[in-house]
Subunit: 238 residues, 2 copies
Amino acid sequence: MKVKLSCSINRFSLYIDLMESLTEENYLKALLTLTGESREVTVSALAKKLEIKMSTVTSMMKKLARKRLVSYRYYKPLKLTEKGRREALLIIRKHRLIELFLVDKMSFRWDEVHDIAEQIEHVQAPHFFERMDSMLGFPTIDPHGEAIPDKDGKLERASYHRLSSCKAGEAVTLRSVANASAEFLKFLSSRQLHLGLRIRIESVEPVDGSVLIRYGKRHRETLSHTICDRLLVEKDSI
Amino acid sequence: MKVKLSCSINRFSLYIDLMESLTEENYLKALLTLTGESREVTVSALAKKLEIKMSTVTSMMKKLARKRLVSYRYYKPLKLTEKGRREALLIIRKHRLIELFLVDKMSFRWDEVHDIAEQIEHVQAPHFFERMDSMLGFPTIDPHGEAIPDKDGKLERASYHRLSSCKAGEAVTLRSVANASAEFLKFLSSRQLHLGLRIRIESVEPVDGSVLIRYGKRHRETLSHTICDRLLVEKDSI
DNA sequence: CTATGAAGTTAGAATAATCTAACAATACAA
DNA sequence: TTGTATTGTTAGATTATTCTAACTTCATAG
């Protein structure tokens, strides 16, 4: 499928192969999200993430390596190049801007926006995203608390703590949700847990790491260690 | 390229083949826009519209005929089935809703929105378009004056006149632009010609069919027959 | 240090959408 | 009515993305 982008002022037409860029963009994005401290990703992890076979990953890596988006050597872990990383971050930027737009300007819930953003993030129209950006007041945080990369693909890394690593007696503010899935976000909403919420940690159960918290007017909940591991908080100063 | 649409409530995932539906959607849309009174389209016209070879059209028509979206017989003109027509109208609906959203809610000019809408129209997310629809107050006309098909793919046909067929002395209101291209729309804007504008026809030149019009505070323009043919107007009552 | 299983690669095939080149049907002009 | 140009179809090739099945490399447990 080819898509024609025309510019009637300068009388030229540019054909971009949408499929190709769509597929490639999904590989780059997956690589970035799998990238940890070492910035290296295994073929099997990428295959699992994209729900494709390892052999398919291998052949696509050769292609992306030719384009200098990924550095790839036989039997070695995959790594985004700086160019690849930047491209991936710009897609993430579009994704997160869309999510915030859907929530702030179109009244969607935070658990509804991922799948829509996943589709619109491939739109090639810089002024569309610039307009979104300005309508939103040049935001830096998306509805799930994740940082929005800037126009150059630079990412501000916030230093939050996992709720699972906090101690009894601490007071914290909920700032971000890791691996936000619709299910998990709905779970949080059902407990009136939202970003910006101040939380007091009453106790931490040594047996299973579950945490008893208090928040709002009179909320009191016990959250499992699994849940707390995905809640990123800022410790209240003083 | 496959895209996964997940529904976490009911725990099912639906894979739609985006490329396939994207390509097919473009064929259906092209067929609809080429459809005239007879509702029949030639292979060559469709090939020209989509900028592909006739042989490619032939093979795709066999596929769409298998899916009962097009009725196709060797060497006979192409025709959308009712099902195909409805699908095409629902894509047009999305396209026009997006265009209006971009103009009304995101302050784009009417000449900027086509290419963006062309990309977003393939998004599969009914509630996204429903939300747009309600934010726009369930509109029936897009920024270029074209009718927006309803949720069932029904289209209200307005009975406008071409400015080129009007007589000297008539007073009309500009209601719609046929074959709106960015170029043409910019031309209109540069003359302060916009939808809803009341226009008086001063004279019609018999030689070339050009028309002298007056409008606004003190605008006076001569428009060629070619231009007037693409301006759809409503004759003022009384 | 080697054998074994996991991880990764290769070769070859499938599908979708496209093309070119050759062929077939149709329309219409003389 | 017949010849030619236009229109449409077929067959076979190409590219992108994916698969399966067979093979290779690596990591590590004994």
